[in-house]
Symmetry: D2
Subunit: 434 residues, 4 copies
């Protein structure tokens, strides 16, 4: 682990400075694979709702690294025995690289194309890349170690726990960063305060008991961000358009349609023929350029959707209370009966899967396996561990939550064209009765 | 001027909220021409130096609008007689639209291609566009009015002055916004304080005398931003690479080189055959996608430069004090003599043309014509006007400033290849003697 | 209602600027009665825990005025019909003056001396004071109107509701202000966002439905402030010392003890012989000066307590879980049995009366009378009103909360003196067994 | 140097947290002498102008300690050879204690009473105090060492330089703190950035060359604070009243006047009979309580001045340009001729002694001796040192500055009484001609 002769810094709006002390970290940041993350936005299409949200996964990855560095530095300074000092470098690498496999608009593309960005992170780390060469130079199985942390199979559970839990550096950075760039200051929490209450303890990162309110503060900011930013109805609308573009283009691709222009990596994405070098060519500039070109495609459906995305002419929506899901379904069916295209002009959305997202307490008889992230544990003065929702009514209140509304998104122009065939009730609901 | 039934807001990290009260403003924001500004970064290649600087001209344009709105609102509330109330709407439109003509990486492209974004703003406003249709609906010559404010020929000089001066809403917003997104908090000044000291006065916007320190504060933040952000040597390096890419590609284009792929609008840019619809297709996604594709072009020079830009492998530099310009020239000549390509592998840069940029006081016998922006005037208690640098030593100190250094940027790999032909002095200077 | 020729401002760290537009408001601020609030700290003894918390009720009162001004200004700008415009001035006066009757360390003194600061606010407004003369000049019964708003008997319920509810300008200002001065940034919420969702509606101030999360944000910041600041165990300790000083001094006073020096207004406070002019002489400088003098009194108990307060030698404490109240009682009894003074050297504290403090939802069959503040109501799209805890699980979670601990505060030096008489269990509990 | 078992923190609004790691620092903070600083405001009477400025010297002293701690910690982390590691503890003590000798409203009292707070700091450190006992326990001459740093005679010049220079921790903390509490955000600079450019170098703290703009930023914030806060005309007015009270009371005291009540320590202050224990009883609560009592003294002059101070009825002022000093003098003389009291009802003020205050460059042939603080030096890449104003035009511009105005402060009521004897010109100047 070679130290840089002089510490280097990045100016960062969220953490003020990001400190790099190791040659390896510096070199990893300067690989083409890591630089590519500059061309992937952290929040996908959210910039169409919050215009400040243009920040990239590059800046987020640096932030995750920095928070991890601070946590480890505090563990070292306090000389906690449960922290394995020799794991520092591998831990920092995993923190820095865990998002390396994110593609353009990953959230939406993953839903449509069924692939997994964490798997791609590992492919890149273990493949024929500059990142791999740098990691291998430390020791031959170093890339595998880093990848196994991302895969959560690393032999030291505390390292996995530090990089991936329900209060990990990843979540802490993106909450603060997304709040900063969107301007949603209700998403802010006191990072220094949270870092001060973390403790390494028997293979886990836990929270000392007096830190309960600090965790509540963090979880409430998460709660606010979910409702105000991540589940914003306009963002959902732009994601729906984006998904429909991908579905239509893939459909055309499979049907042998001849595109005026389609970039090779996107073609291979649709055909599920991606390898690492091609995958690394996928970025949001490419996708957006394809969409811009497709606004002039012959296929009107595709051209229209792309034009909507490019010029931000999103679908409108009406809402239905949670208990009236069937009404939403009925309304959709009537619109289809009147002639609207159920695949491309309509969609029912129910985004409020909160328990999973804001905080999930372990349910009895259910393992934490799969993608589940470990819960937040309080370290009692006598040494026992208590899952936080058992102690905090506030956390409890957002753990079991199932509020929210169904939303029916629709193409308003298309609806107007068939409005003469709609019943008065639906017309009123859509505001087309005037 | 139709008011919206209910005020609409944009969440903005810099101004907290941006308030829209007029239907026209709302509609203008929703045109494809204005939405295109989302795809143009405010600070060009600066994101390669300050990773947070991903913000778009879209957000800046909203900010300029908002500051203008607040200034006018304060003028109205205080019932100043020198403010022509009937100019509000045209003024807000000009503030919102003044950057409409910015192209991708405008600063660099304008230098290479010799065109002017303000002229393009006017073309778009006066051309066959949605923006034009909306403005024309107010009254037939409304687009011309808006364009004439941008051209600084509008009949009401106070409106031109509000939209364009050395302390206009444009500069105020970009200083605050660039400081926010880069994280360079030394670029911050107290906007509320500055707004409170502005006064409309006989066809100009002036500053009441007690506001002198507020203006100094604003100008010093400008000064700091110039040195720390706008003239940052790494940013200059990325701009040099960018310009060289454009020069090489244009050269190839003119010489009949057959690109594997070159987007139509870029081809027409090189051939100076741009019309408004094609111009509107130019955005940074397109340029970046072209660069990415060109990394695989047969022309090694172009491919190499594009690869540098994409993966942020920028040119190194060495500095020469202002008084040693000739040394920089000698050094360059020696490198050329040793075999380096003077057009593509080397460049001397001297960015510190501060008097023009930070603040320019009017020089006797010199008109303010051309692109010169009016100076900042203090309104004395007895009603006279004094140019600020005559009253403030601080402003004076940054007005006549000619410090700064020459920098010789060079392709380090190319220099290494010919290093055996270099004299020891140059080798030492480039750090290649070890 | 005479407007000032030119708007005046106060620079305020919390609201940036406080704007005064009316001559009356300006004059009220400049009365001796209002200036006296500079000598009363907003948070009593909290500065002994959070050293930044030196801010005065003067600054808080200006802040309450400013928030009220902004709310009214927004109601006027939006031309809401349910807002009675003619009530503006009386409402601003009540907001500004509602804390006029606060005495030194009011919270503690009120507990010991059984008086009510709101009653004193009314006495000052209606008594022979400068404030009264200024208000009477508007119209003879104007002081009574202002006082009746504070007494919550004013004929326009919406005005009372604006000045006093569970989300009034008072609470909003003190949360933000206390968070700012203590440095507890987890107590911050987005004021602009909250103000944007308030609506006047049929004699009440309500929240439009989409504002629910904004209210949650506000209530959670309140919740955090209660646990982190207002109920901080060290602050409680200083309040206990303060109360014991007052009790002892009053006891001495009643028993005919001859003080070396006791200020006249404090003597009359103990004798319950206060009139308005004497009351106005009570400030924290006087109380602190008396305490400093009393460190040299012959009565050792009083002198010791005063010395503790002055030099911040507070009582230590041990905690007992809520369900173990009896243990706390037993421990206290044992200490008394061993010789400690139950009145002055010991106290059990249970401060967590949260439902009342953070948010209280109306209980069925219980009126809102007395000092109860009206609940927060959501305005449904169809016009109905719903109390917020019925809609928000988060609010619900902090409404019925009864967590918290008992704390036994004790004089450590006194405990050491009698420690040889204590059982081992108690010794261990107090950490005196080493 | 015993480390605390667990690091302790103070929540601080300016530095977020203040970290205490040594038992000695913790114990020093808890002495009565240091706790007394809670009762001395950092900015004297400034709270009468900026209502937020209630912060104490206690919080400032903690801040100076914290900045010093951070500087040393960075020096240690970077392993700079020119930093003598063994000096850490003595340096931290001096930083913490350097303001220990400040009295109530020190600035004003020092002017009137001719004493020196730094001398008092040393008296307290070397006298029979708890602070002395704690320091002596380290080693017998430790108190002397600490005092000699404050006296600037300590054998290690770099330690003196760290604690006292024109860019020392004292100035850095008070600029940030005063900006925070007044709300004057134009007084903010980027502390992290400044700390990053400091270097220990041959017995001095210098600034690495690339840090020049960071220093400019710091000095400009200082410049803004001087003009906007420290020299604010209203603050000057309150200081004038305060000085006149002290002068009058001292005069009465010397003339044998029998006060209804005068606290012993104040009496001894007037008689210059202060010893350490009595000095420690002087705090602002005591002074303010005396003033409040004196509003009822028989001496009308004293009673009137005290009433003005207590109720903030300050003197009005008129301004004269720097070149018209004689006019100010003439005006004053005329008012005296008409019957005003030259000692108590009038004062000419010229506060703008900027070169001394904002930044003073060393003048040739002039030593740095006495209270002069060392200049700021840039460390050139080749190792030479350059005084900053030789390199920075901005610093140069505020170094030789002699702008500013004379102000004639006067008792407006007294002026009105004799206004019939004044010439029309003076009447107009005072606005008494209407």
């Amino acid at each position: 682990m070679t130290r840089l002769e002089e510490e280097k810094v990045f100016k960062d709006p969220v953490h003020k400075y990001i400190y790099v002390q190791d040659q390896l970290i510096w070199d990893l940041i300067n690989t083409p694979e890591f630089q590519r993350l500059r061309r992937i936005r952290q929040l996908g299409t959210t910039y169409l709702t919050f215009h400040g949200a243009e920040h990239s996964r590059f800046s987020h990855s640096l932030g995750v690294y920095e928070i991890t560095r601070r946590i480890i530095s505090q563990f070292e300074r306090s000389e906690y025995r449960d922290w394995p000092r020799e794991e520092k470098l591998v831990c920092l690498c995993a923190a820095l690289l865990h998002d390396l496999g994110h593609g353009p608009f990953s959230h939406s593309i993953e839903e449509v194309m069924e692939f997994d960005h964490e798997e791609w992170s590992c492919h890149i780390i273990e493949g024929n890349t500059e990142v791999n060469r740098l990691l291998s130079a430390v020791e031959p199985d170093f890339p595998t170690k880093v990848a196994s942390i991302i895969r959560k199979t690393y032999e030291q559970p505390i390292v996995v726990n530090l990089v991936s839990s329900q209060m990990d550096a990843d979540r802490m950075d993106y909450l603060l960063r997304d709040a900063y760039f969107t301007g949603a200051n209700y998403g802010t929490f006191d990072l220094d305060r949270v870092l001060r209450v973390l403790r390494p303890h028997q293979g886990r990162i836990v929270v000392k008991e007096s830190g309960m309110h600090a965790v509540e503060d963090y979880l409430m900011s998460r709660y606010q961000m979910y409702w105000q930013v991540y589940f914003h109805p306009v963002t959902r609308s732009s994601e729906i358009i984006l998904r429909k573009i991908l579905l239509r283009a893939q459909e055309l691709c499979h049907s042998g349609y001849s595109f005026r222009w389609i970039p090779e990596p996107i073609m291979r994405l649709f055909r599920q023929e991606l390898d690492v070098p091609t995958y690394l060519k996928l970025d949001e500039a490419l996708v957006q350029t394809a969409f811009a070109a497709w606004t002039e495609e012959e296929d009107k459906l595709l051209a229209g959707l792309c034009s909507r995305f490019l010029h931000r002419k999103l679908y409108k929506y009406i809402t239905f209370d949670r208990e009236h899901e069937s009404e939403a379904q009925l309304c959709l069916e009537e619109l289809v009966a009147a002639g609207m295209n159920p695949n491309y002009e309509l969609e029912i959305d129910f985004p409020y899967d909160l328990p999973y997202h804001v905080y999930r307490s372990p349910v009895e008889g259910q393992s934490e396996g799969g993608r589940g992230k470990p819960p937040i544990l309080l370290l009692e003065p006598h040494g026992g561990l208590t899952e936080i929702s058992r102690r905090s009514d506030v956390v409890q209140s957002i753990t079991g939550m199932h509020r929210g509304q169904y939303r029916l998104y629709y193409d308003e122009e298309a609806a107007k064209l068939i409005s003469h065939r709609l019943k008065p009730g639906v017309l009123t609901r859509l505001g087309l009765d005037a």
